[in-house]
Amino acid sequence: VERQNVIAAKAGIQGPPPYVVWRLDPRFRGDDKLLNLIHRGDSLMRGWLTAIAFRAGRKPMPALLSISAFGWLLMLAPSPSGGLPFAICGDAAATALNQPSALLLQWIAMLVAMTPPLLDGPILRLWKSSLARRRAAMIACFVVGYALVWIFAGAALGGAVSALARAFDRWAFVVALALALGWRLAPGQQFAHERAHAAPRLRVFGAAAFADGARYGLRYGLWCICACWPLMLAALLAPIGRGPAMFAAAVLMIAERYLPRADPIYAS
């Protein structure tokens, strides 16, 4: 318990969360483990479906889904350098042959396809928190900040893909997948995920407002990437073609975004 408190204090958490200690209490484990597991899975599934349904019909989600659909179409377009469309290309070596500018365009197309449904919460918040005449500009600032982080992350992920492919050859995808699974269960992932949900203060007037919008985008992007980078690695290395792999990763990320809040594991 003492150690938990120290970790909690380091993580900036208010006091020791008492339920963490109690979750370790054998009396809480109940007598029918299988039933508990089914019950938990079932309520988690329904909670998730409802959360998605709840958001799907409300502004701005329909617009974001349309933008996302446009992004998937872009990914099917032939590569400007004459290579295969990004969505079909599935080989890390082939990626390296493409020119950097073409790669950047493909990466941006992928961001347009994958990320809009993840931005529903922040965009609604920016809409609510801004002067009516500044809403569009505030959202633009946020998107620029968010996209910037992802573009830099793209370079880093590209490097990691090459490194993994060199080191593990055909097994690179399996390694990345194991990394993604391990990270999903790690306290750090949950910590990052929760930070991504934080609603920072957004000023309303002057240049400070736009700075807040951009900073919000940077922060949101950064914590998003912290939460999902191994999953992106796995998708980039998947042998099934980048399009289907990215689509599967996008579905997982959206699912994660709308999962009901869980008890923290990072303090235990």
Binding site: F28, R29, G30, N36, R46, S129, R133, V204, F205, R261
Partner: protein
């Protein structure tokens, strides 16, 4: 059979028979094992459960057998807050409680028609209706035995008797025509914002009108916290102050019976306008689970909001002694009269069906407000074009051929974070500099209670959100010419317990929002 729930003040002074039977039943139910769904502790845990605090207060020990995890999952920690499920969930919860207490009373040889009394703190015919009913404050029963209705962890404002201040139990929610709302930052309505299953802490949904005042304020005002102790430790809070402990206090149930009654009062005082939601998401919600409570035999009874609409229906079978209020005047009528509109314009405005348009920000402060050290003031800078829209709307609404009601204006407090759920602040808008807030009740925008604050703030949560209707304050500022050309409005936060500090308590942003009608 339909039973009648009665005002605790009409049962007779001090120890009335229904309260004596209630006390005996509490005593009996306290002796039942925790795992028994009809036990006092099990019923309280359905609202919320904090094992640490419960152990510290002696309700359980480290060896108390608990129900199986699946049972806990079905029943416990289900109270719905900051949500349009607040009223229907608590109605089913109260029904379960009353049924179980009545059965216990019958078993003890008491009346078959016992009903849960309600604490009407607004009863105008009683001199001190806002005072904790004396039977709950007495250490002993009339026969000298221990009084089960008394709990030590009930601190109020650290003086006796415990009184709920009148400015915190105003019937303001009764004037709201909408059950739900809040799109674009506007007021969430009488019953609360549209949410999914919402135990608190899921997101930053605002408190509904009735939930905020009187509900939250009564919780914090009665519960209070241990003086001269760390207010951020739940073990130093009064039971009523914390959702995870509140239902352990026998007064909780009389308070909630009154809140449940106030739902009936709202529906009754304007049947044409005051209607429950008709969306399936509410009637059949929340989609993730069916609410479940035990009946007198401890058997599971499931319900959805649609089952909670008629209290006289066989599944509920009760009614309230009094659901009348002095007929509330429609908010728009009061405002238009104050703004100087003719009787015709007022009549037209009342007839016009309400239209809700997207809200927009009119002004905002520029820094976090620190509430840790008592009184705090912040300046909300106003945007000229948006403020001009408000003044134009107020001027146009009183014109002889007016087609639109005046804008509604809200004060929106975002990211209210803190760990003392007992904290209470009165919020004043547009006070003259140096003015004594108590001398200006007309500038009172509303009251913040931190009830549920810990749940919403911990684990990097975004805190609570509170929205007050400040239309009448804005109307006055408009009439006195202050609003036109104003650069900013001052908002002052005045603590109910000024002698206390509340470490880490703050408000992220203070905004003014207009909603065209």
């Amino acid at each position: 059979m339909t039973t009648i729930r009665k005002d605790v003040w009409h049962l007779g002074a001090g120890w009335s028979d229904p309260l004596i039977w209630y006390a005996k039943a509490v005593h009996e139910m306290r002796s039942r094992p925790f795992a028994d769904p009809t036990s006092w502790l099990f019923l309280a845990a359905m609202h919320g459960f904090d094992p640490d605090a419960w152990t510290a207060f002696g309700y359980i020990t480290k060896t108390t057998p608990l129900p199986a995890a699946a049972v806990q999952k079905t029943y416990w920690s289900k109270c719905q807050h900051q949500s349009w499920f607040f009223l229907p969930w608590h109605r089913g919860y109260l029904w379960s409680f009353e049924t179980i207490v009545r059965a216990a009373i019958v078993k003890l040889g008491g009346p078959h028609d016992w009903t849960l009394p309600y604490w009407n703190y607004n009863n105008a015919a009683i001199a001190h209706a806002n005072q904790l009913p004396p039977a709950f404050a007495a250490a002993t029963m009339p026969d000298g035995s221990h009084n089960p209705l008394f709990v030590k962890q009930r601190y109020g404002a650290n003086r006796t008797p415990i009184v709920v201040p009148k400015q915190m139990i105003r019937p303001v929610a009764q004037n709201d025509d909408r059950f739900t709302g809040g799109e674009g930052g506007a007021h969430p309505g009488f019953g609360g914002p549209q949410t999914i299953f919402h135990h608190g802490g899921e997101d930053d949904a605002p408190n509904g009108g009735l939930e905020s005042e009187p509900h939250n304020n009564v919780h914090s005002a009665v519960g209070g916290n241990l003086p001269n102790a760390d207010t951020n430790d739940p073990k130093n809070l009064g039971l009523m102050s914390d959702p995870d402990q509140a239902a352990l206090d026998p007064i909780f149930w009389l308070h909630h019976a009154n809140i449940d009654r106030l739902w009936e009062v709202w529906r009754n005082n304007n049947p044409g306008r005051h209607k429950d939601p008709t969306l399936s998401a509410w009637l059949n919600g929340p989609a993730t689970e069916v609410f479940a409570v035990p009946d007198a035999a401890g058997k599971k009874v499931e319900y959805r909001p649609k089952d909670m609409l008629d209290t006289k229906a066989p599944n509920l079978g009760y009614t309230y002694e009094d659901v009348s209020t002095p007929k509330p005047t429609a908010l728009v009528a009061t405002r238009l009269s104050n703004l100087g509109a003719s009787a015709d314009v007022v009549a037209n405005a009342i007839e016009r069906p309400p239209v809700q348009q997207p809200a927009e920000v009119v002004g905002a402060n520029d820094a976090k407000v620190d509430l840790s050290q008592g009184v705090a003031t912040t300046s909300v800078k106003l945007d000229k074009p948006a403020t001009a829209k408000v003044t134009q709307s107020l001027a146009a609404a009183v014109a002889p051929a007016a087609q639109q009601a005046p804008d509604r204006v809200f004060l929106r407090l975002e990211n209210i974070r803190g760990f003392n759920d007992a904290a209470l602040f009165s919020v004043y808008v547009g006070l003259p500099p140096g003015a004594d807030p108590e001398a200006h009740p007309e500038n009172l925008a509303g009251n913040i209670s931190l009830f549920g604050g810990t749940k919403a703030s911990r684990n990097s949560g975004n805190g609570l959100t509170q929205v007050f209707d400040i239309s009448s304050i804005v109307d006055s500022l408009h009439l006195s010419g202050v609003l036109q050309g104003a650069d900013a409005l001052d908002v002052r936060f005045v603590p109910y317990r000024p002698e206390q500090t509340n470490p880490e308590m703050s408000i992220g942003a203070v905004k003014i929002v207009r909603e065209p009608q």
